[in-house]
Subunit: 252 residues, 4 copies
């Protein structure tokens, strides 16, 4: 039986500010990456998001980010590995308490935005993130991309790593994502996206922008819930995968 998880960033609203269509995307996904109040989200939104995920039977994960609400955690800051360790412990802990208080539990951790990229590219930041997860709860799954420091360090530390892949982003020869600054970075056609996902799941490869094959492990696919097009896209991916007998389910 082939199994795949569909994950989405959730709980990114803040106070009176609303981002995302959490209610609509929840029935489509199996893992929610919940913002923890640093780059997005707040304690009220976290409570609500945990409740909603629980009601939808969606696995809950922490989505820790840089302390930068204005930049939505997307711009790099010069933070030391120690600071990264501390901010990840803090955010994981806050969400963990929120899940326990609502009678459920936290299942995974996926760093957000610039922190995700920094943990992918810089060994010391990867080590800080991984150590924070290990120290708070070594049973937590770690989401990250194949070939990055984040997953390499996570594996080495004995964490259960879940390999994340993208349906709507193209890949380069080395298995990394084409940077968003490049013209062919995004996949707009849902047929092409589906073909890419199927290839990754069934053969463990991806067809790169140079028409070569690169090895890519795909255990969870990142989908988006911010807009009508994104929701339709997620719905298509989900249905087509199910039609091919692939089980859509969180890794627990």
């Amino acid at each position: 039986m082939t199994q795949i998880d569909l994950n989405c960033d959730l709980g990114e609203s803040f106070g009176h500010y609303v981002i995302g269509h959490d209610e609509q995307v929840l029935p489509l996904i199996t893992s929610a990456n919940v913002a923890c109040g640093f780059h997005a989200g707040d304690f009220s939104v976290m409570h609500q998001t945990v409740d909603r995920a629980k009601k939808n039977g969606v696995a809950i994960g922490a989505h820790p980010g840089l302390p930068d609400l204005k930049g939505f955690g997307r711009r790099e800051m010069k933070v030391s590995p120690t600071e990264v360790y501390d901010m990840v412990v803090y955010q994981i802990g806050a969400l963990q308490a929120m899940t326990v208080a609502q009678g459920t539990r936290m299942n995974h951790v996926k760093p957000h935005g610039a922190l995700y990229h920094m943990a992918s590219d810089q060994q010391k930041i990867a080590e800080a993130v991984v150590q924070a997860v290990v120290d708070v709860n070594p049973d937590l799954l770690l989401f990250g991309m194949d070939g990055t420091f984040l997953t390499k360090v996570g594996e080495k530390a004995g964490l259960h790593v879940i390999y994340e892949a993208y349906a709507d982003r193209t890949y380069q020869t080395d298995g990394s994502l084409t940077p968003r600054s490049m013209p062919d970075a995004l996949i707009a056609d849902s047929g092409q996206a589906l073909a890419q996902v199927l290839e990754m799941i069934q053969y463990g490869t991806v067809t790169t922008t140079t028409r070569e094959k690169a090895n890519v492990r795909a255990e969870t696919i990142c989908v988006h819930g911010d807009g009508t097009a994104a929701l339709a896209f997620a719905e298509t991916i989900r249905r087509e995968l199910q039609d091919r007998g692939i089980t859509i389910k969180a890794w627990l």
Copy 2:
């Protein structure tokens, strides 16, 4: 054997800003109320404070406050009970993870500043704070003053309540503290403070500003670490209590 706990607010520094003399007060106290990043403290300071408390064998507690760094959590805000519940769950969780990550554990919860006062005076705020503690970890001790909603609601919910009393504040006929706005609110003389503490510990009463007796339960005494005078005061209280055979120890 008579036992008393000495508690102090700690970890109130923020970034480059330093408040308190944590290193000096830690050898004098048995419970540390650690700021959780809302009214004071940040994730780096929390890590350091947990480390220091652990090294000194001091019990660690969460000191959740209102989200108001500029006001140091001392000014009331119109927050709903639900918001209070969520902000307490969040802050307790963050500190809990910090203690677990450092191989130790969180022992108690004491609300800070305006939140402490609101939880003392308003039943719904008390219920929100107590429910947050119960839902995150019902084994946590709850610090609060005798005769307040906070401790009444805490007892009713089955929490282990530790009654807090003050050495350097006078009491009114009903057992409540004289407001700081009154001329005789503070006790500057360490002899008078010591006498008050001894009376509270040994007889369960306090001599009020009108020279009457009020019942006051005292299981933990709040001391301060912000300045030379405060440190000397804490040192005197500690030594004099020990000299009278009273055990200075955290409730575990």
Copy 3:
């Protein structure tokens, strides 16, 4: 010639968070109350909002609020008059520089949310707001409601006060707004709203919820831009007033 100003709160987005339909409401109004980064808005949004208002020939005003992004400046905080004075000076100054830098100017000040209510009901807060305006630039217009401390203190200090009235809120016998907690606080019918506005402009009275007449000065009408219904409402008011020969224009 009868003249009326239509004002709307603008520039309330923050970072990646969008609130309001500023582009659509700008052609309908004549004065924009621009958030100044405390309860909403940020320096980037302020720049953009000043640019847009300038292009639309809409007068620009500062909309200073309490420092509470999570609560959108709508919940009261215990702030001293001195703090209010300082936060208003700061926010007015920031927007003033933004207008000067874009080759335009700031025309008015209208406090936001809880600060507006506090300045209406509490004399000392009104005095703090008014003094801040006087000290930064006494030529600025002050928006406020008839019968409040804000406008009384403003008049006494020699400021040019512009009286603000509401199209979609009912009034009580004393000329104050029916609190939102009451069932008949809001006017949903645009015909009734228009009739109320016309009565206020032409006769200086309003028909209260008890069918009496109360005196109400109306020189600027507050409209909303957050949603399709609000935009349609603003459009109707604007067109109907113009059709009756009333000039829609900012007070300069």
Copy 4:
């Protein structure tokens, strides 16, 4: 007549957090760089600092920084030139209003910490800072170091640039400061510091760490007020310069 200005960063306290000995350093300096609420300071502290500077006859300047209270504005963030422009306009405007409200005026602008370094090293950031100053008030003086983009761009834009030099930092062959990471970056000996300042003022050169001469323009010397040693250092520099007939005075 040889004239030199002594400047110091001031008003860096925040809420209950105190940094610096502003009262003691004010009689020693002639220009105060006042934090504007982003990396340090708040609206209350700004008011107090403007008052104190005015009473001491010290010229007041804006000290805009990155929006990073936790990092004290010392860590680089990936901000665009547009964001820098907007944040500088905002902060300059806030302080300008504060000075006008207290019956005085703002005299200069000096970027803080990481923003100062970014504006020194990156042309586009320098252009953003300079344009913000030009657009808000082209009569403001701009403080910056000789040989940097900040002062080059400032001169080209027609601003009155004041060249800043350091008494307690060594210089490299190209006239730039020795990075703090190097062992010989700091000058601890006040005699050496004084000699360096005198050489810069009288000959426009500095003796570098390799014992060569580099050209360095020095019109204002940056001193520090954070600690007993810093204050003694500032006092010595001031007295020795005065004894040599050098006029200690702000550039107005």
